[in-house]
């Protein structure tokens, strides 16, 4: 009777896929994440290559060709999505509008991300008085009505792309601070942080090499959410006439300009709003997907 060595039999049952393979499997198994990612990449390419893709100059007015309907409503391929009330090609303005939205979203999220992460990590790592001050600032910031303050400041300083970006960047750091504070607090309690402290690593070193890598996944999720938030806010400000100023092609502004002709030409409102919706949806889907894929409870 041959004796079976117990351990050999079990080897292939134990060796599963590596963490990298599992992550890849989760990413490609997550529909929302993939759809969001693809749409976002496409729109980013459109924004980058706007001059090559746009059939017309987005600023060129043509009073002879005002409010030409889109091709699916009886228009011609000369203006696939028609023209606006000043005869500007709608598709071209839409394509250039992607630049405005994505630029504002990305830069505003970057600014608020730097501010909020610095505050949140400091509060979470040092605790005590630093935490009390940061928590207080978060409370103050949350109490301020964002749309109202942004509108007022932009109105006082004068609406321009730069002003809108900076104002939104300075206003939207709250979620970064809240999430980063909580994540840092969690990571701070782990043994490897204590270990780093014991071997005498400097605080900046611990923050950079022990804390940051372990809160990066949460940070990425907030970046996507705040990017979407900034894009929506810019559109709202521009819609209210107090954001990006004409003739810059901003989707919010296009909705606002089309509003008066909404009764007869609803597509003037529908098209830019729908594109805005799709962009924000894509970013949110990506953010939700990233959260699902990187969530600690999914890791085991």
């Amino acid at each position: 009777m041959a004796s079976v060595t117990p351990h050999d039999r079990l080897l292939d049952e134990i060796t599963g896929p590596t963490p990298g393979q599992m992550l890849r499997k989760r990413i490609f198994g997550h529909q929302g994440l993939l759809i969001g990612l693809v749409v976002l990449i496409l729109l980013t390419l459109v924004a980058i290559f706007a001059p090559l893709l746009a059939p017309h100059d987005p600023y060129a007015q043509s009073l002879m060709n005002r409010m030409v309907p889109p091709v699916f409503m009886g228009g011609t391929w000369e203006h696939p999505l028609g023209t606006d009330h000043l005869g500007r090609d709608y598709l071209s303005r839409l394509i250039y509008g992607a630049r405005v939205s994505l630029l504002i979203g990305a830069v505003a999220a970057l600014i608020s991300g730097v501010i909020g992460t610095a505050m949140g990590v400091a509060a979470g790592y040092f605790g005590g008085k630093v935490d009390a001050v940061v928590t207080f600032l978060i409370n103050v910031r949350l109490a301020m009505p964002v749309v109202l303050v942004a509108l007022a400041v932009v109105a006082i300083l004068g609406g321009s792309l730069e002003v809108v970006i900076v104002v939104l960047g300075l206003l939207l750091w709250d979620r970064f601070a809240v999430v980063m504070r909580a994540s840092t607090m969690q990571v701070r309690r782990r043994e490897y942080v204590a270990a780093a402290q014991v071997i005498g690593a400097s605080t900046p070193r611990i923050l950079l090499s022990e804390i940051m890598p372990n809160i990066a996944n949460n940070l990425i999720v907030v970046v996507t959410l705040e990017m979407a938030h900034a894009i929506l806010l810019e559109a709202a400000l521009s819609f209210l006439g107090l954001g990006v100023q004409p003739p810059t092609p901003s989707w919010g502004l296009m909705v606002s300009e089309g509003k008066n002709m909404m009764l007869f030409e609803p597509w003037l409102v529908l098209i830019p709003g729908a594109v805005l919706f799709v962009l924000v949806l894509a970013i949110n889907l990506m953010g939700d997907g990233l959260r699902d894929v990187t969530a600690p409870e999914n890791r085991s």
């Binding site: 009777m1 041959a2 004796s3 079976v4 117990p6 351990h7 039999r9 079990l10 049952e13 134990i14």
Partner: protein, 332 residues
């Protein structure tokens, strides 16, 4: 002999998972008479808790349960309606869980939760229910029972909460009580008290009890019968004395070597361990599940495994004596 209070034949549970089916519990058979205490022992993940939840009809949605027979006082539980099961649960059969810290609802007072157990099954007034609650709190050794009624769970210690859980399980004087590792989450000093209490109350009220534990010291003291579970199977069952005196399945002997027993363990000798890991139960499970860790394993262990009976004592092994007298284990 009268019919047993609880009779289970071929209880099986499957859980569909990503890569197939997890055969979590397979072919469980046992009987339990009124007033008897059955201890189910085994490692975590061996299916002890699933078995108890299956009896109560409290399995999660994804788990498929089947059994040739699963009767409680003649009622076939596999065919009982939801309504019948609800009437049994908390009424004639109760359960005490492992986690007293989280098993009480944080939003309601102790009194409300105790009274609810009675009000759900008996037509009594709130006052009567509260009086019964006070009576049982006193019975489980809680002082100032009256004033505890208006307290919330978070105001009590773990030991007190488990006493409340026991009182709650006893509100309707059940015939069967299932306690799933009721003391694991408690301090060592409290553990003994709670077990003593459960045991005494069980005897006093002539309740049948299923006690799930991995503490063989406890088993030796309270059990009438023992069921040893390994990887979803009952590998050995029998009266407590026989299990301890003539443990027949190699796994049972392994378990017994892991604990010091007065009069059994030799002074100065190190306690045993069981090397190896539990096999995966996903996909088809054939042969003896313990073969990956058994010192006597042979190629035949991959085939069908016979059940050996000796009165009430039964075990599953290809060896008729379970290699009881082999000296191989001592060196393992």
């Amino acid at each position: 002999m009268t019919d047993p209070l609880l009779s289970v034949r071929n209880l099986t549970m499957d859980i569909p998972v990503g890569g197939g089916t997890l055969h979590a519990v397979r072919g469980i058979d046992f009987d339990l008479n009124r007033g008897e205490t059955l201890c189910i022992v085994g490692e975590s993940g061996s299916g002890k808790s699933l078995t108890s939840l299956a009896l109560m009809g409290l399995l999660g949605k994804g788990i498929q349960r089947s059994a040739d027979r699963m009767t409680f006082d003649g009622i076939e539980l596999t065919k009982a309606s939801k309504r019948q099961m609800r009437a049994l649960r908390g009424g004639r059969m109760s359960m005490i869980f492992q986690e007293p810290m989280t098993s009480l609802n944080p939003a309601y007072t102790i009194g409300d939760q105790l009274a609810e157990a009675l009000l759900l099954h008996r037509t009594v007034t709130r006052e009567q229910a509260r009086a019964r609650a006070v009576e049982l709190l006193e019975k489980v050794g809680i002082t100032a029972a009256e004033s505890r009624l208006s307290q919330y769970p978070h105001q009590l210690s773990g030991g007190l909460r488990q006493r409340v859980m026991i009182a709650m399980a006893l509100m309707c004087e059940p015939e069967l009580i299932i306690a799933d590792e009721p003391t694991t989450a408690l301090d060592v000093t409290i553990q003994a008290q709670i077990l003593r209490l459960l045991y005494d109350l069980g005897r006093e009220m002539n309740m049948a009890m299923i006690l799930i534990t991995h503490d063989l010291g406890v088993v030796a003291r309270v059990a009438d019968k023992v069921a040893v579970m390994y990887a979803g199977e009952l590998v050995e069952t029998g009266p407590v004395a026989e299990i301890f005196n003539t443990p027949s399945h190699p796994y049972t002997r392994g378990l017994l070597r892991c604990i010091p027993l007065p009069g059994k363990t030799e002074r100065g000798k190190s306690l045993g361990t069981i090397p190896g890991i539990v096999p995966s139960l996903v996909g088809s499970v054939e042969g003896c599940v313990f073969r990956t860790r058994c010192p006597h394993a042979t190629m035949e262990c991959r085939g069908a495994i016979p059940q050996h009976h000796d009165g009430e004592h039964a075990f599953r092994c290809i060896f008729a004596d379970g290699k009881r007298h082999s000296d191989k284990e001592l060196t393992a």
